[in-house]
């Protein structure tokens, strides 16, 4: 009982520990810290990877690979970026590697289509006057490069500097790429019947 209480207290304390402190503990071989970091970030990492690879089973596998790398490389984390930025950078590298492997093997179009088209087509959604649905459809129709930057900025709440670190490009390029991603989104919306008057 005493041991259980002690473990519960340790676990509770871990919940409030910063990511960076958790990574320090992980570097020292602390498996509980690993579990806390995983619980804290697995969903976002999974969604980020899934949006890139568009295959649930591959995304699940890659999330495991990302955190296994964290376990192996925690000692190399220098806290020059936040832990979540570091995680997303690892995740991106693994997702792109998986995409390259899959391109070599030939894309599974059926699988990609099931993820790409969860609702009505943009045109049908327009007929239903569901602007939000059209917007989401057009977001999924963007290229992986444009989807990635929009997700990083809007969903993962990454600053210009952090996106630059994750994607490995300059800060000005980050802003330019975001602009073109949004411009392309407007074009897709216009083609679907929604003219936003921009750009």
């Amino acid at each position: 009982m005493v041991a259980t209480n002690s473990m519960n207290r340790t676990s509770a304390a871990m919940q409030t520990t910063s990511d960076e402190a958790l990574i320090e503990r992980i570097a020292a071989g602390d498996k509980l810290a690993m579990q806390v970091l995983f619980a804290r970030h697995q969903v976002r990492v999974y969604r980020f990877v899934l949006r890139l690879v568009r295959d649930q089973s591959v995304a699940e596998e890659l999330v495991g690979e990302v955190f296994l790398d964290v376990w192996r490389q925690a000692g190399r984390f220098e806290a020059r970026s936040t832990a979540s930025t570091w995680l997303l950078a690892i995740a991106r590298y693994k997702a792109l590697s998986a995409l390259r492997r899959r391109t070599d093997q030939g894309l599974d179009d059926d699988k990609a289509a099931t993820l790409e088209d969860p609702g009505d087509s943009p045109e049908v959604a327009v007929l239903k006057k569901n602007k939000g649905e059209v917007l989401r459809q057009c977001l999924t129709a963007l290229t992986p490069e444009h989807r990635e930057i929009i997700d990083l900025v809007y969903y993962h709440e990454k600053s210009v500097e952090e996106v630059a670190q994750i994607v490995g490009i300059g800060e000005n390029t980050v802003k330019t790429r975001m602009f073109y991603a949004r411009k392309r989104l407007s074009e897709l919306l216009k083609a679907a019947g929604i003219d936003r008057g921009w750009p």
């Binding site: 498996k31 192996r72 977001l139 709440e157 921009w198």
Partner: protein, 222 residues
């Protein structure tokens, strides 16, 4: 086409709108954007478009769901599988360093041969251990040990098995890992269905033993 102030300063401010909507701008930049928004109705209209995009992106991502249950267990399983190496390294100290140096000098072909030989040794040892420690015989032939059956199956995976293969295997046989790895790399598993009778458990183990591409050893826990 909108007629609009497209000075470099205004373009720079407009480029920051996505980060302003997400709340990730530095204070100074956020203040510049706020001031521009207060003076410029067209910029405010464009900012509203950005906010729509943000809301749609969040909703789209939230709809993607989450990894399936058991992801953490599978990760910890893989981490555990790596731990003996770490423990050995700590325990052996200089010997491990010496071994690492020798292995580093091997050519890829020689290294592959050495790994194969090591894997064969592990298989032989596992077989011997299985023979001497898991079962015993008496006048009535095969008999379970004195400890009552726990309903668990001890499984050792081949060194080359990866997490995806192990996960698929566990799903196929509806098994859950309840402990491990134990010395020798054994994981204790339990059928997800109601406790199986002796015959059912033995039959399951025989089927598992056929999966030699992933399982190097399987036996009922005594």
């Amino acid at each position: 086409m909108t007629t609009y102030d497209e000075t470099p300063e205004r373009q720079e401010i407009e480029a920051l709108l996505p980060w302003h909507a997400a709340g990730t701008l530095a204070d100074r930049d956020a203040q510049r954007v706020e001031e521009a928004l207060a003076q410029d109705r067209e910029l405010s209209r464009r900012f509203a478009l950005v906010r729509e995009e943000l809301a749609a992106t969040v909703r789209l991502n939230d709809a993607l769901g989450a990894p399936p249950a058991g992801a953490m267990e599978r990760l910890m399983l893989r981490i555990e599988a790596e731990s003996p190496t770490g423990r050995s390294r700590l325990a052996l100290g200089g010997l491990a360093d010496w071994l690492a140096m020798q292995v580093g000098r091997l050519s890829p072909r020689a290294l592959a041969f050495a790994v194969g030989a090591a894997a064969a040794m592990i298989l032989i040892q596992a077989g011997l251990l299985a023979t001497f420690s898991i079962t015993r015989y008496d006048a009535n032939g095969f008999q379970t040990a004195s400890i009552p059956r726990s309903g668990e199956i001890g499984i050792g995976f081949v060194p080359a098995a990866n997490a995806a293969e192990i996960t698929k295997f566990l799903d196929t046989y509806h098994l859950t890992i309840v402990a491990g790895p134990r010395p020798g790399g054994l994981f204790m598993t339990r059928p997800e269905s109601a406790p199986l009778p002796k015959d059912g458990l033995d039959g399951l183990v025989r089927r598992i033993q056929q999966e030699s591409h992933i399982v190097r050893f399987a036996a009922v826990e005594e």
